[in-house]
Amino acid sequence: MSQEKEMLAALGLSSLDELFVDVPEAVRIDGLHLPPGRSELEVVRDLKAILAKNLTADDHPCFLGAGIAHHFIPAAVRTIVGRSEFLTSYTPYQPEISQGMLQALFEYQSYIAELTGLDAVNSSAYDASTALGEAATMCFRLNEKRRLLVPEAMSWEKKSVLSNYVLGLKMEIVEYGYDPITGELDLEDLRSKVDKDTSGIYVEVPNLFGVIDSQAPFLKQEFPEAALVVGVDPISLGVLKSPGDYGADIVIGEGQSLGIDMNFGGPLLGIFACRQEHVRKMPGRVIGMTHDSEGERAFCMTLQTREQHIRRSKATSNICTNEALMAVAASVYLSILGKEGLEGLAKVNIARARKLMDSIGEIEGFDSPAFEGSHFNEFVVRTPTRPEKLNRLLLKHGIIGGVPLASHIPRLDHHMLLATTEMHSNADHDALLKALKEVS
């Protein structure tokens, strides 16, 4: 007798249908109109064939950035995050049998704490945009004010997400401008917009233009009443001052650069850190250090009274499933790089971008970099032809070009944002330069 028959018999039933007698006739369906199941061999073969239609950054130099970029991932990172015990486990609700994940996440929090200069870090938000959304509502929880200042020079996607996240609290989002010469924030404009109702100020370092804003360290002094929220690319923190050092209350960022695949934009890793004193107002899961009944060090999820499953509609966030595995990847990645590796990586990114932006600047018709500030690994180029057209031409040379900036700042319609990282060889740079020369 088959397993199923035995089990049905044990239930005194003779068919599977009897298990569904509680489903009213009127709402029943007669199976699904999907193709029948197929073997692993066929499914994998077919999907590979479909996916093969994608061009990848693996075989085409790709200069896209604006949030995520192509970075090197040591093979060991994949080895670890592919481990069954991490990959196939749930949120660590039972700490005794989940110390592995808990410690790895605690280490992630520790790394981000060190990089951001803030002691309290959650074990991830979905991505930078939702981390920003959560930061905005946290600002409200900190000071019960509703006005949030954000840079005009910011990804339109983040702006859109942010506006959805603050909808419930009816917070007001106000944009401040940038300096058209340096690409840094326009302090005058910001000053004119900060008022007593201002809950928080959001600044990105590096910003959408790839510029490392030299004014960031002075914002907290200037605007002590408002919460300072800083958006970062974590690898830049290998050489940049930690936002905690210059007074940030909350740091958010996109952790994709920390050993996580681009994945066509997901999964990513939303970084979220804050000052220890704000910890009970923070959103998301956090792992805390504790001990077991024998006094040995142990870890567990903690501060759950902030969370949805306890506080329900009063929770600091609705987040439940997060991006834990990506946080583990980030831990492994940072562990492999180590102090010198991260510093070196940041420097290589800066140096490579500098080299490329200068070389493009030498090409007739291109203004590069379009902004004078210091850059991390992205920069804006003013192009002679529209960036969309340029990209089509580059593609003919096997090159995936940059982001047309007008999609984020409509006025900058002859501007392209280019990213370059440790992934680009000299040959990749030369190929881009050669192609740009041809089209100019």
Binding site: L11, R78, S84, T88, E96, I97, A351
Partner: protein, 491 residues
Amino acid sequence: MYQQAKHDRRLIMERDGRSDFDLPFLNELTDQDAVVPSGMRRTELDLPSLPEREVVKHYVNLSQMNFGVDNGLYPLGSCTMKFNPKYADYLTSLPSVNCIHPYQAEETVQGALQIMHELELALCEISGMDAVTLQPAAGAHGEFTGMLLTKAYHVDRGEDRDEVVIPDSAHGTNPASAAMAGYRVVEIPSSMDGRVDLEALKSAMSERTAAFMITNPNTLGIFEEDIQQIAKIVHAAGALLYYDGANLNAVMGRTTPGKMDFDIVHFNLHKTFATPHGGGGPGAGPVGVKERIEPFLPVPRIVIKDSKYKLDYDRPESIGKVRSFYGNFAVLVRAYAYIMRMGGNGLKAASDRAVLNSNYLKKQLMDVYPLPFRELRKHEFVVSAKPLKDQRGIRAFDVAKRLLDYGYHAPTVYFPSLVEEALMIEPTETETKETLDEFAAVMKRIASEDPELVRSAPHNTAVKKVDEVYAAKEAILSYRAFKRRGAGPKA
């Protein structure tokens, strides 16, 4: 007997060595190459430096102190911890999945767009909805998206509704998501038989009600038989009916939220469609809607134009975006592969077997762990350790911890709260009868074990019972904070 591995538990920050990481260009760097505004230069970076060998050892050993589905039964009710097939892991290891940038031109990502489009269609069929967005990153994110859609829908109709009604047995994310979208949450108590109380529902509904959020089957594993009346009540009040898809695993091929007249539904691909949960995430929480809500879906929408897949941003009524880019693509690929592998027949068989396994296991346990409410359950069920507590001083919590000693993950405990000493058990369809029989035997055995042994469990795990109160009181969330304190638990 089972015993979990136990390794050195120093933090990676507490180890000593020297990194052997290397990068191109690193040796060529000069001081002038990496200029940073002077006020922005970092002066201290206190990270460990270890050879890859130490890092791999550290994390391989950590992993052995973690329990996943691949290690054994994971009957965590509501979480649907089924087997995660390995071909999906393989697919996401391909550069054609993991090495594409979301801002690539459409013509360079036709494969990705095709898979996403076909997944949307498959989810429409499975849920009986008219359109699906893949953007939300998780179930709760899908709920939030659903609430934003609800708001957009009512606003578009010129209605100002500010309440969402939710049963008390709902998952915490439901009220939290509604609140985040600015709704006032109205909780209604369950009926005496563990279902939606139609009277309570009726009296909660008003012209202020934007939506009613439920799962079906509910968190007790009971199918809401009155679903047609519920839908009528809700729609009569002008509200929308929201389906929390976390329990969709019970009914694929048997019914659909669409057929049950739901307006909005979220899916948990990391539950129903076998994508791994990664120790907390990533997941994916697509949202399906009926046609009249479709205009409000997040941008971009994937459309076909001139036989090419395109991203359509020109959607004036759209709520915009709920996260960057298009969703957790790598998770979507896994789910799509799973759906293809199973097929329509396979998905139905999966639900059927999930329900069979659940009812079979329930039957084995019922005499020792009584089952409140009706007997027929769907993919999960809730039993009570109340008699055990009363008679032997063994709580649901203790049973859960003791199960760890036998190499099982624990069920969900103390949820839903309408059952005292609740143990919420979901075996899923990927478990064999043998596994269920063995688990049932252990559950019964625990009930007759020395209560002290059970209460002091777990004994065979990497650490003994963890002090959660200390953790919450001290809130040590990073090594930095630990060092600053100058004292704390030592490895």
